[in-house]
């Protein structure tokens, strides 16, 4: 059987178990409401969920622009200016290791509990991986390609536009993928902590009243969001790297 057939099979079995186990009383409905029941409340309350989804999506979209735009710009700067890199990269790398969620209370104090604080938090959350990925991508550009371009009389701006940019695209997109996923995490987590709208908020409020089916609908929607974003990024990656057998095209990795 092919790996994808196996994946579909496992998925199908899980769905069946999701229906059968709660119905048979093997798992309490409070922990896991049956699949059909979950779908039923999703359809009944679709308007509520759609509104929450719209809130979450719009926050994520704005945060994505900030995180990825800022991350790519800052990463390109750090990647190409050695002095700046020596100065800032250690700081950025260690900031990346800090659980940024501890900052969230501060963000709500600054920006209130509306959309701004969530956007600010999610932007910061996605910013660092995008920055680090882009910086690494720019640093790993084959210096020989730049010398070659120079030998053909390429000016600095031509080298940036026609060599650095296309050479860095695969790594930049890969870091966008990671940054984008973290933006979703950032938005949902902040909605769950302090908020009055969005999918994360719905999940938390249904949980406090022990409404398991609706909690599960919320979780499914977050999963869907993450998967769709990843799919979009993958399509982008595929389109941009069609002609490259790997991220490092110059020498093939030895077969071990």
């Amino acid at each position: 059987m092919s790996p994808s057939a196996i994946r579909w099979l496992i998925g199908g079995i899980l769905l069946v178990l999701w229906e059968v186990l709660p119905r048979a009383g093997l798992v309490p409905q409070l922990f896991l409401p049956a699949l059909s029941q979950t779908i039923a409340v999703a359809i009944a309350d679709w308007r509520i969920f759609a509104e929450a989804l719209a809130v979450t999506l719009s926050e994520a979209a704005v945060a994505l622009v900030f995180a990825c735009g800022g991350g790519i710009l800052a990463g390109a700067l750090l990647g190409s200016v050695a002095r700046l890199r020596g100065l800032l990269l250690p700081v950025v790398s260690s900031l990346y290791a800090v659980p940024l969620v501890v900052l969230y209370p501060v963000f709500t104090a600054w920006f209130g509990i509306g959309a701004q604080s969530k956007i600010a938090f999610a932007s910061l959350y996605g910013f660092f991986p995008t920055l680090l990925g882009t910086a690494a991508g720019i640093q790993t550009i084959d210096a020989q390609l730049l010398v070659t371009a120079r030998s053909m009389g390429a000016t600095l701006s031509q080298r940036l536009r026609h060599v650095v940019l296309p050479a860095a695209i695969p790594t930049v997109i890969a870091s966008l993928r990671l940054g984008g996923a973290l933006v979703i995490v950032g938005v949902v987590v902040s909605e769950m902590l302090t908020s009055s709208a969005g999918i994360g908020y719905l999940i938390t409020s249904y949980r406090t009243v022990l409404d398991s089916p609706r909690v599960y609908v919320g979780i499914l929607l977050v999963l869907l969001l993450g998967v769709l974003l990843d799919l979009g990024m993958r399509l982008l990656e595929h389109a941009a790297t069609r002609h490259r057998p790997s991220a490092v095209p110059r020498r093939a990795a030895p077969a071990i």
Binding site: R150, M152, H162, P249, R250
Partner: protein, 270 residues
């Protein structure tokens, strides 16, 4: 001036002149002398090969001739003018690795230097495909570097070095990464292209056979610091053939170069 036995009409016009060149690298405050007292003249249309031990400064010298690195002392004139910056109108460069841009097809790689100069797309592609034709890759223009063999990549790289029609082609171990058979064919091909285009070629190699097979003149360098210790006129007729490699003259020339490279030099105890 010694006349080359070459069939080709070599006009006695200096294309490359290196005058009193020396170079000292400085890294982290430590100075190291890489090139000392280099003087050479390459007449237009001649094929000059530079050989010498690893680290003797062959690549450095070539980079300076290409305007990619500035020497600390001395002057390099190409076509009568100093070489201060890369100038694709005068000098094309081919490196050991083909250094093709992996995101461009073969023909776009060849057209890249023309794109930098703002030529229109159709003229670019016309000239690039003529060059691919010249290196025997007329059929492979649409392929990407990852879809080409090592020899094909290096042909594309040569086509790219020639596309702006510079009078001088500098080649730094262009065939070093290829297997022996491909290397032989590439040598033949290069001589054919050279005789069709009448370029002045400076070619660096570690292979003594390749040096004798290709060259009008072989310059032998020694290391620490890099100097030119011998100039050998290769008076084998052209076109060169594979059979010539078995002749006594060929063997004597190769032995002479080998003895020069192996012999202890002043300041370089064996």
């Amino acid at each position: 001036m010694k006349q080359a036995l070459s069939e080709r009409a070599v006009t006695e016009r200096p294309m490359i002149e290196v005058i009193g060149l020396g170079h000292t690298y400085e890294s982290r405050g430590v100075a190291s002398r890489a090139l000392e007292d280099i003087a050479l003249t390459v007449q237009a249309g001649r094929f000059t090969v530079i050989v010498g031990p690893s680290g003797c400064g062959k690549s450095s010298l070539l980079m300076m001739m290409a305007g990619l690195r500035r020497q600390t002392e001395g002057t390099i004139l190409v076509d009568g003018r100093p070489m201060l910056d890369p100038d694709p109108d005068r000098v094309g460069v081919v490196f050991q690795d083909a250094n093709l841009f992996p995101w461009l097809s073969a023909i776009d790689n060849v057209a890249f230097p023309l794109m930098l100069r703002g030529l229109g797309r159709s003229e670019r592609l016309d000239r690039a495909s003529a060059m691919l034709e010249l290196v025997g890759l007329g059929h492979a223009g649409a392929r990407y570097p990852s879809e080409l063999s090592g020899g094909m990549k290096q042909r594309v790289s040569i086509a790219r070095g020639l596309v702006q029609d510079p009078p001088v082609l500098l080649m730094d171990e262009p065939f070093a990464a290829l297997d022996e058979q491909t290397r032989m064919t590439m040598g033949e091909e290069l001589l054919r292209i050279w005789s069709q285009t009448s370029k002045t070629v400076v070619f660096v190699t570690h292979s003594l056979s390749e040096a004798v097979y290709l060259a009008d003149e072989v310059l032998v360098m020694s290391a620490h610091p890099g100097r030119i210790i011998d100039r050998i006129e290769v008076e084998l007729p052209r076109p060169r053939t594979y059979e010539m490699m078995a002749t006594a003259t060929f063997g004597q020339l190769r032995d002479r170069i080998w003895r020069q490279i192996r012999s202890p030099q002043p300041g370089n105890p064996a």
